[in-house]
């Protein structure tokens, strides 16, 4: 590397330019820079001392012995994979189909999960509907129990102000905080999971509501489907994971080599 003369001189002050001095030691300065450096060294004690120190350091490094390798580092055939060998042996048919099986199982898992969530979401939304309606009785019971005090619903509705046969639209639509809904839910272990009650529909008892839900023509709210879905999810998920792991193993085996 050639050091530019002007750069060399610019750095030459009281602080020696170590880069230039080190390069000079290795013969990396061009003739012009080297001659200028020599002229500078003739009149600069600090740079002469620095150069001498660098030279001693370099000589000390060069005097370090090069040791013999303590052993041979030759590679043994048993330790290395043949780089030019063809692809490793084909995996067993089971492993060969593992990625496809895993993908199908994953798809089944996703579909089952989606159906499950959808049914769970609809049931939760339906179960939320009655809570959106001020349940004066339950709210009052909560209030009296100290679970929720100051609920707007309890302020606007009086116990028993909603008759069982009153239309849902006629009910006060006072907003109720989610906390109140939770409290109401906890106060009523079995909530009717129906949509807002149609007009002239009496508020069903929990037992009758469950019966009605069970009788709704095998819909997703049926009693056995969620558990069947769960089983399907678990099986599909397990197959997907196992198949994925097998696929990774197969890929790694194929990856060995060049």
């Amino acid at each position: 590397m050639v050091i530019r003369v002007n750069k060399l001189l610019r750095f030459f002050g009281h602080a020696p330019d170590v880069n230039a001095l080190s390069a000079q030691l290795d013969g990396q300065l061009d003739a012009v820079a080297a001659s200028r450096l020599a002229a500078h060294l003739a009149s600069c004690e600090a740079c002469r001392a620095a150069l001498a120190g660098l030279r001693e350091t370099r000589d000390a490094l060069r005097a370090m012995p090069e040791l013999e390798a303590p052993r041979s580092f030759r590679l043994r055939a048993a330790d290395v994979e043949p780089r030019t060998a063809p692809a490793p042996s084909h995996p067993s048919p089971t492993l060969r189909w593992a990625p496809a099986v895993s993908a199908i199982a994953a798809a089944v898992f996703v579909v089952a999960l989606g159906v499950d969530l959808r049914s769970g979401g609809s049931s939760s939304s339906t179960s939320r509907s009655p809570l959106a309606v001020p349940q004066s009785g339950s709210a009052k019971s909560n209030e009296s129990a100290g679970a929720m005090s100051g609920s707007p619903a309890t302020d606007q509705t009086a116990p028993g102000s909603i008759e069982p046969g009153a239309p849902a639209a006629a009910r006060p639509q006072a907003p109720e905080p989610a906390g109140a809904a939770q409290a109401t839910l906890s106060a009523q272990p079995v909530q009717p999971s129906s949509t807002p009650a149609p007009a002239a529909r009496p508020i069903p008892s929990p037992t009758s509501e469950l019966r009605a839900a069970a009788g709704r023509g095998g819909s997703s709210e049926g009693g056995n489907n969620p558990s069947a879905l769960r089983v399907l999810e678990i099986i599909a998920g397990a197959i997907a994971v196992a198949g994925g792991a097998a696929a990774i193993v197969v890929r790694r085996r194929r990856g060995v080599g060049p």
């Binding site: 590397m1 170590v18 880069n19 001095l21 080190s22 390069a23 290795d26 990396q28 620095a50 120190g53 660098l54 001693e56 350091t57 370099r58 000589d59 000390a60 490094l61 060069r62 005097a63 370090m64 012995p65 090069e66 040791l67 013999e68 390798a69 303590p70 052993r71 041979s72 580092f73 030759r74 590679l75 055939a77 330790d79 290395v80 043949p82 780089r83 030019t84 060049p258």
Partner: protein, 193 residues
Amino acid sequence: MPDPDSEPEVLRRARDGDLAAFNRLVDLHQRAVYNLCLRMLGSGAAAEDAAQDAFFSAYRNIHRFKGGTFRPWLMRIASNACIDELRRRGRRPTVSLQKTAPGSDDPIDVADTAAGPETEALQREQHDTVQAALLRLPADQRMAVVLCDLQGFAYEEIAEAMRTSVGTVKSRIARGREKLRRELGPKEQPGSV
């Protein structure tokens, strides 16, 4: 007809997967690789492991060698093996400053570096001191200094081995030497080197 024992011909066979040819290259360069690892890591056992890892890595990747000079390419792999080892340790290898203080009689913990040919006690002490000072350099400066002053690489070869520019190599060598000069200076006796 090319000389079958020439390095280019051996390299060609090694690239074709000839393990025996690759081991010829190992024979040619294992001393330099081991010493580079030794000076970088300061421990004979660690240097052996790093050198062996370097040759394994070189064998696995020799098909990527696109020609040119083999030695810088191999040294780059060896330096990577050393850096991996330093990272694995989580810190730069350090030795106690007290042990290397001028006048200290305690030998530094680089006894492996002093093994080998019989040397005078003073020379051994000097070598230990220089090795300890080397280990306190930043890894990039240490690598540049070792390749330049201990391995005799040209600046261009060092730049190739370290995958950097010649200007950066020059700077690393200069800064490394300057730090070593400051560390070794007080103990240096006139005419002792």
